[in-house]
Amino acid sequence: MYITLNGQKKEVSPSQNLRDVIVQFSQSPAVLIAEVNGTIVKKKQWDEICVNDGDTIELVSFVGGG
Protein backbone atom coordinates (compact mmCIF):
# COMPACT_ATOMS: atom_id res chain seq x y z
CA MET A 1 0.00 0.00 0.00
CA TYR A 2 1.01 3.62 -0.46
CA ILE A 3 1.08 6.64 1.79
CA THR A 4 2.07 10.25 1.18
CA LEU A 5 4.88 11.16 3.56
CA ASN A 6 6.04 14.77 3.59
CA GLY A 7 4.67 15.14 0.10
CA GLN A 8 6.37 12.02 -1.26
CA LYS A 9 4.61 8.81 -2.29
CA LYS A 10 6.04 5.91 -0.24
CA GLU A 11 5.28 2.21 -0.32
CA VAL A 12 4.76 0.64 3.09
CA SER A 13 3.78 -2.87 4.10
CA PRO A 14 0.30 -3.22 5.61
CA SER A 15 -0.57 -3.36 9.31
CA GLN A 16 2.17 -1.08 10.53
CA ASN A 17 1.72 1.52 13.20
CA LEU A 18 2.85 5.12 12.96
CA ARG A 19 6.04 4.52 14.95
CA ASP A 20 7.09 1.74 12.52
CA VAL A 21 6.69 4.09 9.57
CA ILE A 22 8.54 6.94 11.30
CA VAL A 23 11.45 4.67 12.22
CA GLN A 24 11.57 3.33 8.66
CA PHE A 25 11.71 6.70 6.91
CA SER A 26 13.04 9.33 9.29
CA GLN A 27 16.77 9.74 9.74
CA SER A 28 16.33 12.55 12.23
CA PRO A 29 14.58 11.06 15.24
CA ALA A 30 15.49 13.86 17.66
CA VAL A 31 12.39 16.01 17.97
CA LEU A 32 9.58 15.05 15.67
CA ILE A 33 5.98 16.06 15.51
CA ALA A 34 3.60 13.90 13.49
CA GLU A 35 0.38 14.74 11.76
CA VAL A 36 -1.80 12.07 10.13
CA ASN A 37 -4.44 13.26 7.69
CA GLY A 38 -4.28 16.74 9.20
CA THR A 39 -4.59 15.63 12.82
CA ILE A 40 -1.69 15.87 15.28
CA VAL A 41 -0.78 12.50 16.79
CA LYS A 42 0.87 12.70 20.20
CA LYS A 43 4.10 10.75 20.59
CA LYS A 44 2.62 8.41 23.17
CA GLN A 45 -0.01 7.37 20.61
CA TRP A 46 2.44 6.52 17.82
CA ASP A 47 2.22 2.80 18.66
CA GLU A 48 -1.56 2.79 18.65
CA ILE A 49 -2.19 4.52 15.34
CA CYS A 50 -2.46 2.12 12.39
CA VAL A 51 -1.23 3.45 9.09
CA ASN A 52 -3.74 2.92 6.29
CA ASP A 53 -3.51 2.93 2.53
CA GLY A 54 -3.71 6.49 1.21
CA ASP A 55 -2.84 8.21 4.49
CA THR A 56 -1.12 11.56 4.36
CA ILE A 57 1.55 11.88 7.01
CA GLU A 58 3.59 14.95 7.85
CA LEU A 59 6.70 14.82 10.00
CA VAL A 60 8.04 18.18 11.13
CA SER A 61 10.85 19.38 13.33
CA PHE A 62 12.55 22.57 14.48
CA VAL A 63 15.01 24.41 12.23
CA GLY A 64 16.75 27.77 12.40
CA GLY A 65 14.48 30.74 11.82
CA GLY A 66 14.06 34.40 12.69
Binding site: L5, N6, G7, Q8, F25, S26, Q27, S28, A30, V31, L32, I33, E35, I40, K42, E58, L59, V60, S61, F62, V63, G64, G65, G66
Partner: protein, 258 residues
Protein backbone atom coordinates in the same frame (compact mmCIF):
# COMPACT_ATOMS: atom_id res chain seq x y z
CA UNK B 1 11.34 43.20 31.06
CA UNK B 2 8.23 41.16 31.66
CA UNK B 3 6.42 39.20 28.97
CA UNK B 4 3.38 37.12 29.88
CA UNK B 5 4.38 37.10 33.55
CA UNK B 6 7.93 35.97 32.85
CA UNK B 7 10.87 38.23 33.78
CA UNK B 8 13.79 38.71 31.42
CA UNK B 9 17.08 40.49 32.08
CA UNK B 10 18.05 40.64 28.41
CA UNK B 11 16.14 42.79 25.95
CA UNK B 12 17.85 41.24 22.96
CA UNK B 13 16.02 38.46 21.11
CA UNK B 14 18.00 36.39 18.62
CA UNK B 15 16.81 34.55 15.54
CA UNK B 16 18.53 31.28 14.68
CA UNK B 17 18.22 31.21 10.88
CA UNK B 18 21.04 31.62 8.33
CA UNK B 19 23.93 30.69 10.65
CA UNK B 20 26.81 29.01 8.78
CA UNK B 21 26.99 26.34 11.45
CA UNK B 22 25.44 25.49 14.78
CA UNK B 23 28.62 26.34 16.70
CA UNK B 24 28.37 29.95 15.52
CA UNK B 25 24.79 29.95 16.76
CA UNK B 26 25.70 28.56 20.17
CA UNK B 27 28.49 31.13 20.54
CA UNK B 28 26.20 34.00 19.51
CA UNK B 29 23.63 32.93 22.09
CA UNK B 30 26.29 32.78 24.77
CA UNK B 31 27.99 36.05 23.83
CA UNK B 32 24.76 38.03 23.67
CA UNK B 33 23.26 36.48 26.84
CA UNK B 34 19.96 36.43 25.01
CA UNK B 35 17.09 34.80 26.88
CA UNK B 36 14.65 34.38 24.00
CA UNK B 37 15.49 32.79 20.65
CA UNK B 38 13.26 32.07 17.69
CA UNK B 39 13.15 28.85 15.70
CA UNK B 40 10.99 27.70 12.80
CA UNK B 41 9.14 24.47 12.09
CA UNK B 42 9.64 22.56 8.85
CA UNK B 43 9.00 19.20 7.23
CA UNK B 44 12.00 16.97 7.91
CA UNK B 45 14.18 15.92 5.02
CA UNK B 46 13.65 12.17 4.53
CA UNK B 47 16.82 11.78 2.50
CA UNK B 48 19.37 12.84 5.11
CA UNK B 49 20.09 13.19 8.78
CA UNK B 50 19.49 16.66 10.13
CA UNK B 51 21.04 18.11 13.26
CA UNK B 52 18.74 18.90 16.14
CA UNK B 53 18.97 22.68 16.55
CA UNK B 54 17.58 22.49 20.07
CA UNK B 55 20.82 20.88 21.24
CA UNK B 56 22.54 24.22 20.63
CA UNK B 57 20.05 26.28 22.61
CA UNK B 58 20.56 26.27 26.39
CA UNK B 59 17.63 25.03 28.46
CA UNK B 60 17.20 28.32 30.32
CA UNK B 61 16.57 30.18 27.04
CA UNK B 62 12.91 30.62 26.14
CA UNK B 63 12.06 29.07 22.79
CA UNK B 64 9.87 31.23 20.58
CA UNK B 65 8.61 29.23 17.61
CA UNK B 66 7.70 31.29 14.58
CA UNK B 67 4.96 30.44 12.12
CA UNK B 68 7.07 31.24 9.07
CA UNK B 69 5.67 29.63 5.97
CA UNK B 70 2.12 30.49 7.00
CA UNK B 71 0.24 32.43 4.33
CA UNK B 72 -2.91 32.96 6.36
CA UNK B 73 -4.28 32.70 9.90
CA UNK B 74 -5.39 29.09 9.45
CA UNK B 75 -1.88 27.94 8.54
CA UNK B 76 -0.33 29.94 11.38
CA UNK B 77 -2.69 28.28 13.84
CA UNK B 78 -1.81 24.85 12.45
CA UNK B 79 1.93 25.50 12.83
CA UNK B 80 1.45 26.79 16.37
CA UNK B 81 -0.49 23.70 17.42
CA UNK B 82 2.16 21.43 15.90
CA UNK B 83 4.91 23.33 17.70
CA UNK B 84 3.16 23.04 21.04
CA UNK B 85 2.99 19.28 20.59
CA UNK B 86 6.77 19.08 20.68
CA UNK B 87 6.64 19.97 24.36
CA UNK B 88 8.88 23.03 24.35
CA UNK B 89 6.37 25.50 25.65
CA UNK B 90 3.66 27.58 24.10
CA UNK B 91 5.43 30.75 23.00
CA UNK B 92 4.57 31.59 19.41
CA UNK B 93 5.77 34.34 17.12
CA UNK B 94 3.02 34.77 14.58
CA UNK B 95 4.36 35.52 11.16
CA UNK B 96 1.83 35.51 8.35
CA UNK B 97 3.30 36.42 5.00
CA UNK B 98 1.86 35.98 1.54
CA UNK B 99 4.02 38.39 -0.39
CA UNK B 100 7.20 36.69 -1.53
CA UNK B 101 8.89 39.85 -2.85
CA UNK B 102 8.72 42.09 0.22
CA UNK B 103 7.86 39.47 2.87
CA UNK B 104 5.53 41.96 4.50
CA UNK B 105 3.36 40.63 7.33
CA UNK B 106 -0.40 40.47 6.74
CA UNK B 107 -1.76 42.35 9.75
CA UNK B 108 -5.36 41.26 9.25
CA UNK B 109 -4.57 37.55 9.20
CA UNK B 110 -2.10 38.07 12.05
CA UNK B 111 -4.86 39.53 14.24
CA UNK B 112 -7.11 36.55 13.43
CA UNK B 113 -4.41 34.02 14.32
CA UNK B 114 -3.55 35.92 17.51
CA UNK B 115 -7.16 35.82 18.64
CA UNK B 116 -7.46 32.07 18.14
CA UNK B 117 -4.12 31.16 19.69
CA UNK B 118 -4.32 33.51 22.67
CA UNK B 119 -7.73 31.99 23.46
CA UNK B 120 -6.08 28.54 23.40
CA UNK B 121 -3.55 29.67 25.98
CA UNK B 122 -0.59 30.39 23.73
CA UNK B 123 1.77 33.26 24.56
CA UNK B 124 1.50 35.15 21.30
CA UNK B 125 4.13 37.56 19.98
CA UNK B 126 2.89 38.77 16.60
CA UNK B 127 5.19 40.19 13.94
CA UNK B 128 3.40 43.09 12.31
CA UNK B 129 3.54 46.08 10.03
CA UNK B 130 3.59 49.14 12.32
CA UNK B 131 -0.02 50.26 12.10
CA UNK B 132 -1.65 51.64 15.24
CA UNK B 133 -5.08 50.19 14.52
CA UNK B 134 -3.61 46.74 13.95
CA UNK B 135 -1.53 47.04 17.11
CA UNK B 136 -4.65 47.90 19.11
CA UNK B 137 -6.47 44.96 17.56
CA UNK B 138 -3.57 42.68 18.53
CA UNK B 139 -3.75 43.89 22.12
CA UNK B 140 -7.50 43.27 22.15
CA UNK B 141 -6.89 39.81 20.67
CA UNK B 142 -4.64 38.90 23.59
CA UNK B 143 -1.12 39.42 22.22
CA UNK B 144 1.69 39.36 24.80
CA UNK B 145 3.79 41.85 22.80
CA UNK B 146 3.63 43.51 19.43
CA UNK B 147 6.61 43.20 17.13
CA UNK B 148 6.60 45.91 14.48
CA UNK B 149 9.11 45.66 11.65
CA UNK B 150 11.87 48.27 11.35
CA UNK B 151 12.29 47.61 7.63
CA UNK B 152 12.06 44.64 5.27
CA UNK B 153 13.21 41.27 6.65
CA UNK B 154 16.91 40.71 6.10
CA UNK B 155 17.38 44.12 4.46
CA UNK B 156 19.71 45.60 7.12
CA UNK B 157 18.15 48.99 6.42
CA UNK B 158 17.43 49.93 10.02
CA UNK B 159 14.29 51.70 11.16
CA UNK B 160 12.61 53.00 8.02
CA UNK B 161 9.20 53.49 9.62
CA UNK B 162 10.40 55.43 12.63
CA UNK B 163 7.42 57.73 13.13
CA UNK B 164 4.97 54.86 13.06
CA UNK B 165 6.96 52.73 15.47
CA UNK B 166 7.16 55.75 17.78
CA UNK B 167 3.37 56.04 17.70
CA UNK B 168 3.04 52.39 18.67
CA UNK B 169 5.59 52.79 21.47
CA UNK B 170 3.71 55.84 22.75
CA UNK B 171 0.22 54.38 22.50
CA UNK B 172 0.46 50.64 23.17
CA UNK B 173 0.90 49.45 26.74
CA UNK B 174 2.24 45.92 26.17
CA UNK B 175 5.94 45.35 25.37
CA UNK B 176 7.09 46.51 21.92
CA UNK B 177 9.77 44.42 20.24
CA UNK B 178 11.24 45.95 17.09
CA UNK B 179 11.80 43.08 14.70
CA UNK B 180 13.24 42.82 11.18
CA UNK B 181 15.63 45.03 9.30
CA UNK B 182 18.01 45.97 12.10
CA UNK B 183 21.38 45.63 10.40
CA UNK B 184 23.75 47.26 12.89
CA UNK B 185 24.02 47.63 16.65
CA UNK B 186 23.56 51.41 16.26
CA UNK B 187 20.15 50.75 14.72
CA UNK B 188 19.18 48.54 17.65
CA UNK B 189 20.31 51.29 20.02
CA UNK B 190 18.14 53.73 18.10
CA UNK B 191 15.08 51.52 18.59
CA UNK B 192 15.79 51.27 22.31
CA UNK B 193 16.39 55.02 22.65
CA UNK B 194 12.94 55.52 21.11
CA UNK B 195 11.50 53.50 23.95
CA UNK B 196 11.12 50.06 22.43
CA UNK B 197 11.17 47.37 25.11
CA UNK B 198 13.36 44.97 23.13
CA UNK B 199 14.63 44.13 19.65
CA UNK B 200 14.87 40.92 17.65
CA UNK B 201 17.79 40.42 15.28
CA UNK B 202 18.75 37.49 13.08
CA UNK B 203 20.35 38.22 9.70
CA UNK B 204 22.84 40.85 10.89
CA UNK B 205 24.22 38.44 13.48
CA UNK B 206 23.99 35.18 11.55
CA UNK B 207 25.68 36.51 8.42
CA UNK B 208 28.40 38.47 10.22
CA UNK B 209 32.08 37.55 9.87
CA UNK B 210 32.13 36.86 13.60
CA UNK B 211 28.56 36.24 14.78
CA UNK B 212 29.50 36.05 18.47
CA UNK B 213 31.15 39.50 18.44
CA UNK B 214 28.29 41.09 16.55
CA UNK B 215 25.74 39.42 18.84
CA UNK B 216 27.57 40.86 21.84
CA UNK B 217 27.74 44.27 20.16
CA UNK B 218 23.98 44.17 19.58
CA UNK B 219 23.33 43.19 23.19
CA UNK B 220 25.51 46.05 24.45
CA UNK B 221 23.85 48.51 22.06
CA UNK B 222 20.46 47.40 23.35
CA UNK B 223 21.59 48.04 26.91
CA UNK B 224 23.05 51.44 25.98
CA UNK B 225 19.87 52.40 24.16
CA UNK B 226 17.77 51.34 27.13
CA UNK B 227 19.86 53.41 29.54
CA UNK B 228 19.63 56.37 27.17
CA UNK B 229 15.86 56.01 27.14
CA UNK B 230 15.62 55.77 30.92
CA UNK B 231 18.00 58.68 31.46
CA UNK B 232 16.57 61.01 28.86
CA UNK B 233 15.09 64.38 29.59
CA UNK B 234 11.34 64.54 29.26
CA UNK B 235 11.87 66.72 26.22
CA UNK B 236 14.34 65.19 23.80
CA UNK B 237 17.53 67.18 23.06
CA UNK B 238 16.78 69.56 20.21
CA UNK B 239 19.41 69.73 17.45
CA UNK B 240 20.51 73.29 16.70
CA UNK B 241 22.63 74.97 14.03
CA UNK B 242 24.57 77.07 16.55
CA UNK B 243 27.17 76.00 19.08
CA UNK B 244 26.55 75.91 22.82
CA UNK B 245 29.78 75.65 24.82
CA UNK B 246 30.22 72.82 27.25
CA UNK B 247 33.22 74.45 28.95
CA UNK B 248 33.32 77.92 30.49
CA UNK B 249 34.48 80.50 27.94
CA UNK B 250 35.62 83.18 30.39
CA UNK B 251 39.21 84.23 31.10
CA UNK B 252 41.82 81.60 31.68
CA UNK B 253 44.82 82.36 29.46
CA UNK B 254 43.61 85.81 28.48
CA UNK B 255 40.81 88.15 29.27
CA UNK B 256 38.01 87.63 26.79
CA UNK B 257 36.77 91.18 27.07
CA UNK B 258 39.85 92.46 25.18
Amino acid sequence: MEIAGKMFTSRFLLGTGKFKNKTDLAQAIEASKTEIVTVALRRIDLERHEENILEYIPKNVTLLVNTSGARNAREAVRIARLAKEAGYGNWIKIEVINDSKYLLPDNQETVKATEILAAEGFVVLPYMYPDLYAARALVAAGAATVMPLGSLIGSNRGIKVKDFIQIIIDEIDIPIVVDAGLGAPSQAAEAMEMGADAVLVNTAVATAGNPALIAQAFAMAVQAGRLAYLGRDRSRPVPTMTADPSSPLTGFLYDQSR
